[in-house]
């Protein structure tokens, strides 16, 4: 399935599909790099799209589609958030919210292959190999980066 079809198939975000990285707020776009933009197949500002419906929920930030050729598109689920160790639980709550949302409200999006990524704003205050990293890995989230290279998803 294509990323765009999955977005349009999901009532909560229908009409929120944007070409390339246009669904990503300007302030966050510089945190993403991509040397082969033709592989990008759209993006959605999930946080903005669901603000009215889920105003008090720990919403996740973005969905970015990456083309895998003839196969299903892949979704990179991106959260832009401070990354000191005290933010780990907060981000894990957001991740759990995203998983629940995919499961119950967005099954078409949930069926696409996925990666969960955390982009750090500011200093990362826990280290690789730490308890915190193992904790987030167990839930499917990789160590925060300052710059996310979208070409690395191949």
């Amino acid at each position: 399935m294509r990323f765009r079809e999955a977005v349009e198939d999901t009532a909560a975000i229908r009409g929120q599909y944007r070409e390339g990285l246009q669904g990503v707020r300007n302030v966050d776009r510089s945190r993403l790099s991509c040397a082969t933009p033709r592989r990008l197949c759209g993006s959605v500002d999930l946080d903005g799209a669901l603000r009215l419906v889920h105003p008090n929920d720990p919403r996740w930030d973005y969905a970015i589609g990456v083309s895998e050729g003839v196969q299903n598109d892949t979704v990179i689920w991106v959260e832009v958030h401070p990354a000191s160790s005290c933010h780990v639980e907060e981000v894990l709550r957001k991740l759990q919210w995203l998983k629940d949302w995919l499961r119950y409200d967005a099954p078409a999006m949930g069926r696409l292959p996925r990666h969960f990524r955390w982009i750090a704003t500011g200093t990362v205050s826990f280290r690789r190999g730490s308890r915190e990293e193992k904790k987030i890995a167990q839930r499917g989230l990789r160590f925060p980066v300052k710059q996310l290279d979208l070409d690395s998803f191949r």
Partner: protein, 401 residues
């Protein structure tokens, strides 16, 4: 020469010149550019030149005393750089020096090794103390310190010199006491407690004088006596390290030993459990508090944990007691002094890349784009990759939990 601010033990800022050493084309080293902090840590894979670098640092600090010691023991190097390295670094190392390419710059000044080895320097006082990686060799099978002359001419100077210094220490002041460890006037009480808990398991290090040859034994209160050959690997590694630290920490109110300003320790973690490494790190803080400039080479991420933690604590205005919490040590007047000093020290970390160049990774930013900095010179790379692979497997799972 550039200046930067640092602090003395009372916390007063003082300006000091950067201490720098630059090496070019010496063995595996192509370009090593190091600016020393109060604490300098060298990391990188095996055979990338960390040990060669530290031995050159020792040579430049202590040219006179090294020549004096070598000559005292009848060693000669025909006044040629390569011959000298065969004697100083050890057999087979002369070829590391390439006369047309190799270069040294110390504190911003070019140093000609061929001229240095021809010089008659001998009068200066020693400025550094070197604890080599091969320290376990300093104890004979019988458990006593080997003299300088017990080694072959081609054995590294730093090993022979360290061994001889410990032997003299044991034959004189320290060796007259019954118990080498613990000794009430040596080491801070809190450090002794950590050593007993994490390394000696309530054993004492004693000198046995019952036979014709003195020897070191580990003994407990139930009259169990363990000779050197039955010590654990960690205890065998640690005892020479402990004696080296005794050498540096005189049992008087004087904080440092004589003219010694620099301490180089190779792979302090060798053979030690992480709890024992923790104890060693507290001892490193003690050395820093005493005003020694410390240079370490290491393969242990725990050493970098400390450097990183001190940076983060300093940047976030943490109190000295936070430093002691790292080691689970109750803050008291003595340990708080160590914590306070540690927060004022300047630490540098360099990665010795297999491509022969060094990189300054002092920021140790785990999210850095530079992989050698993010992976702390490879020390956290495997753990990071393990977590990445697990995270991908969990994320890719069909069913969401």
């Amino acid at each position: 020469m550039p200046k930067h601010n640092t602090y003395d033990l009372n916390g007063a800022r003082r300006a000091m010149a950067y201490e720098t050493l630059n090496l070019r084309h010496i063995g595996p080293i192509q370009e090593a550019d190091i600016r020393f902090g109060d604490l300098t840590v060298l990391v990188g894979p095996q055979a990338t030149g960390k040990s060669i670098f530290l031995q050159f640092l020792k040579l430049l600090l202590d040219t006179g005393p090294i020549f004096r010691t070598l000559r005292k023991h009848g060693l000669d190097w025909s006044k040629e750089a390569r011959d000298f390295l065969e004697v100083y670094l050890g057999e087979g190392t002369g070829g590391l020096w390439q006369p047309s390419k190799s270069e040294i710059s110390w504190r911003g000044d070019s140093v000609r090794l061929d001229e240095l080895v021809r010089s008659k320097k001998k009068g200066e006082a020693e400025k550094s103390f070197f604890i080599p990686a091969q320290r376990v060799l300093t104890l004979s099978r019988d458990g006593w310190l080997r003299p300088f002359t017990d080694y072959k001419a081609g054995d590294p100077f730093t090993v022979r010199d360290f061994s001889e210094k410990l032997r003299v220490l044991m034959e004189t002041g320290l060796g007259r006491a019954e118990a080498v460890y613990p000794q009430p006037k040596r080491l801070k009480r809190e450090i002794r407690n950590l050593l007993s808990l994490n390394i000696f398991s309530n054993f004492h290090l004693q000198i046995d004088r019952t036979g014709p040859q003195k020897r070191l034994l580990l003994a407990d209160d139930h009259k169990t006596k363990l000779p050197f050959m039955v010590w654990s690997a960690g205890q065998r590694e640690f005892v020479p390290l402990l004696l080296g630290l005794y050498w540096l920490l005189p049992p008087t109110k004087v904080t440092r030993r004589g003219s010694i300003q620099w301490v180089m320790i190779e792979e302090l973690e060798m053979g030690l459990h992480p709890k024992a490494i923790e104890t060693m790190l507290v001892m490193i803080l003690d050395l820093l508090w005493r005003g020694y400039r410390v240079c370490l080479s290491t393969h242990s991420p725990h050493v970098l944990d400390l450097v990183w933690a001190l940076r983060m604590l300093r940047e976030n205005g943490a109190e000295p007691k936070a430093v002691m919490r790292i080691f689970d040590v109750k803050p008291g007047p003595t340990t708080l002094k160590l914590g306070e000093a540690a927060l004022k020290k300047d630490a540098k970390v360099y990665y010795f890349d297999p491509d022969g160049k060094t990189r300054d990774i002092s920021a140790l930013d785990p999210a850095a784009v530079d992989k050698s900095e993010a992976g702390w010179g490879g020390l956290t790379e495997l753990s990071g990759r393990v977590a990445d692979v697990v995270a991908e497997a969990v994320a890719a799972r069909g069913e969401l939990e």
